[in-house]
Symmetry: C2
Subunit: 525 residues, 2 copies
């Protein structure tokens, strides 16, 4: 992974200009820009027009030594803040934003040092219009609908960034730059762009490379000259959040072939290296993102994020986020739970609860067998927390879809999964997924565990990286330009693979030797 530092040079540069003289009468703006161009790999740099009136005084006040903050503008780079280098320094604030369909995460960073001033996450307010992408896309058929959804998400980001800054003793009105990553639909709805053509053949977004926007045109309460960089999308089904993720893992810059899986409602997978990048995405169902009937929830205080089951006593131990009384279970918890149930024999290879093994924990709810995960007495809701068979079936489909997509992608590029040396597992919401559990249920391939690298919310991390690493905007665009998108052809072969993957861990247990070993020869006979 690329470290979150500005070793490669950040957007904030302290620079000494040659003083003008009779033999060197370059204008002030060009003098500054030429020096900055050298600092930014010969990319075009210009001065925001609103800084021009103060420029002559500013340069001379600091005897031509300045601290300049540069950020991507519409096309080239633009100087958005300038101070004499000798002036007392206040931090240059940047805001990283990951807009998820369900949850939005933001982080406030010092653009010069990379230091975080804190982060927070909150529900995407568009949920009120519709919890899923499709209902929002329908809502945004009209320009008015698109505008309204944009207003919702922007005002939430504005409000939350103000609160976040305040908690850190800072002022959101001094945020000079933001980097926003989201899937293609979320990106469009953030920018107020209609999405109608994204969901009908041939699935055309309005724009794939939205570039940099002035914060005030997006009604964000940042500094007057603040710019907002929006990560590029590849197409309707592969968004800027994945581009940010790829950048954050650094897999686009390595010689070895690596794989990145983003586990969520949509399973998004990339494989490749510095020479090529191949991606595909497909619906995995909501099970991994807290979208189950009652018990499922996003990662939030009180969510069960870790589960282990004693094979002998079948006692269920769990951990919640912030150690709050449990109120639900998030993606990483569900995967742990299913793995535990399976290894303890409480769930069979078809993903069905085994009544005998679950005895004492099994009740019936709405006509379905239901497993009590947390007893009423320990629950934070006042009611027992139960996982029913429908939830498990939903998880089974999700994990099968995920594995099938992984397999289809690797087959398409002729890469043997066993040869991968790095396998990044990102989970945008929920705690870090435990690869051990994910392999046990057959969601991820049975590789040496050291190959797996849980990377959390890579979209937010990638956005934060963009704020502190000069040139990261070009890198993001390059990544987007390099990706070949594999259109998933849901044909008979795919369906056969999917059916085989709906078993725990898989019909072909030979593919999961470590799981077979755990189960012991007897239980898989």
């Amino acid at each position: 992974m690329t470290a979150l530092t500005n070793k490669q040079g950040g957007w904030v540069q302290r620079i000494s200009l040659a003083r003008p003289g009779i033999g060197d009468n370059t204008a002030d703006a060009e003098r500054l820009c030429q020096a900055l161009m050298r600092a930014f790999g010969n990319r075009q740099v210009r001065v925001d027009w609103q800084l021009l009136p103060q420029l002559p005084h500013m340069l001379r006040q600091g005897d031509f030594a300045v601290k300049a903050t540069v950020f991507p503008g519409r096309e080239g780079l633009v100087v958005i803040d300038l101070a004499p280098a000798s002036a007392p320094s206040s931090p240059i604030l940047g805001l990283a934003v990951d807009i998820g369909t369900t949850r939005v995460a933001i982080r406030l960073v010092d653009m010069e040092t990379g230091k975080s001033f804190g982060e927070t996450s909150f529900d995407n307010p568009q949920i009120a219009v519709g919890p899923d992408i499709l209902s929002r896309i329908h809502y945004a058929h009209s320009q008015e609908g698109a505008k309204e959804l944009a207003r919702q998400i922007r005002s939430a980001i504005g409000r939350e960034s103000q609160a976040l800054a305040k908690r850190a003793g800072l002022d959101s009105g001094r945020i000079l730059a933001a980097a926003v990553a989201g899937n293609t639909a979320m990106t469009h709805l953030f920018l107020g762009l209609p999405t109608a053509n994204m969901i009908r053949e041939p699935y055309i977004p309005v724009i794939n490379n939205p570039g940099s926007w002035k914060a005030h045109t997006l009604d964000l309460p940042f500094a007057p000259l603040a710019r907002v960089f929006v990560f590029p999308n590849i197409g309707s089904y592969f968004g800027g959040d994945l581009v940010a993720g790829i950048m954050q893992t650094g897999m686009d810059a390595q010689q070895e072939v690596a794989m990145l899986v983003d586990v969520g409602t949509n399973a998004e997978v990339v494989v490749g290296n510095q020479d090529w990048l191949m991606a595909c995405a497909g619906a995995a169902g909501p099970a991994l993102e807290g979208g189950m009937s009652r018990i499922g929830m996003m990662a939030a205080p009180g969510a069960i994020d870790r589960v282990s089951i004693d094979k002998k006593t079948r006692a269920i131990a769990w951990h919640t986020i912030e150690d709050k009384p449990p109120v639900g279970i998030c993606g990483s918890g569900v995967i742990d739970l299913a793995a535990g149930l399976f290894l303890a024999g409480m769930m069979d290879i078809r993903g069905k609860l085994v009544p005998d093994a679950c005895a004492g924990r099994l009740i019936e709810k709405d006509g379905l067998p239901s497993l009590v995960v947390v007893e009423k007495e320990l629950s934070g809701t006042g009611q027992s927390l139960c996982l029913d068979q429908a939830d498990l079936d939903s998880l089974t489909r999700s994990k099968a879809a995920m594995y099938t997509i992984l397999r289809t992608l690797t087959l398409s590029v002729g890469v043997e999964m066993q040869k991968l040396t790095t396998f990044f597992v990102a989970g945008t919401f929920g705690s870090y997924i435990d690869p051990e559990s994910a392999v046990t249920i057959g969601m991820l391939p049975d590789l040496d565990r050291s190959v797996f690298c849980s990377v959390g919310n890579t979209s937010l991390e990638g956005a934060a990286l963009l704020l502190v690493q000069a040139g990261a905007d070009e890198r993001a665009r390059q990544i987007a330009g390099r990706i070949t998108y594999l259109e998933l052809n849901v044909n008979q072969e795919f369906m056969n693979r999917f059916s085989a993957a709906k078993f725990y861990p898989h019909t072909d247990i030979a593919r999961f030797p470590s799981v077979a070993k755990k189960l012991g020869a007897a239980s898989v006979a």
Copy 2:
């Protein structure tokens, strides 16, 4: 000269895009921009963000055939207007602006056809602060002063463009693009930039390449997405007006070496061709720009712009602009008048009025001999129009300065003036100068008259050219980048040359054989 047509392709393009399909799911914005890039020599093109929400509907409404107006944005090109190609067409309006220190000229053009909808000129309202550049630069020492001067010129341009559009039955609110040329100080004061460092060593402007601005940030009452291109300057003493002029003459693109002289308070001279361009500028005095004591005036209705004197009867015949009763004399008229006086023996080779020859027309005013050019009865002012000896002395210095600068520049590059095949004579204000008269008084070299090409206000013409010729913005920048500026070294040699040029036509009459011929051997003995 480059013709004012869009033969090379204009900013308004009618273009048919490939329709999207399963095999071609490029996003709408990128689809349009890629097609436009091909039309604009592979320059980056983007869609103004305010057009993005309508883009999908607009493309599909016209079945992917559109009329797109593109113009230079901050760095790359930007689509600022879009309509289905089949929609009823209204003209795409552009405004060419030449900001002179004294006079401002504007012209409204159809950006698609190059057709002019009319033009007008008006006093630079900053005259109220100070008639000359220096007093305004002093006023603009403070940011407030600079802002106030900017407000004055911008509101005048706004007001006059509204009136101009109205007269043509059009709406200035539909002006989509403007091109503004002016000297470096006028450009700075238009943009509200402080000019203090321009007039003290080492003479540093704030910016040489201001590029393109959004019209609304300049408070101009144009279309919401309108852009304003501001011609680049070379330095404090060679401005965008000359760059526009060079472009308009086409001398930057020709193999033959040509010369361009802009006759005004400042004498600005360029010599060069497609391979090199050398320029210099120097004070020529106000005589040629209507700046004489009483009789001098800018080109305006009632200004004497043509004069001829009968050698035998010494009768003075004149012509006024719009044939109005004479109220003064403009630059071209003064040159004609001096040439006529000299050839008729009414002025000697030192530029002094000859009492005997002027008999009947000579009076004394404020202790100075003064020549009645227009009798009281014929005058539009109710008073006779007189040229006094001080006016003539002022003209003598101006014409001498002009010739000296021409000679210094050609000597510096080793070009023999006699070898020039084209000699453009621009006069920003005043009618076209008659080269015959200018040679007679020794202001311009004695070349074959077919070599001279009077080109009027090349600054305004160049600005108009920019509005109709795609790529003219890059060409303007290239011209600015290619010019070598010769710092006039006012040393003894220069002063000797200047002294020799203060005679009519010159102490060395051999340099002016055609004038010698006219005078006849006797009068120059």
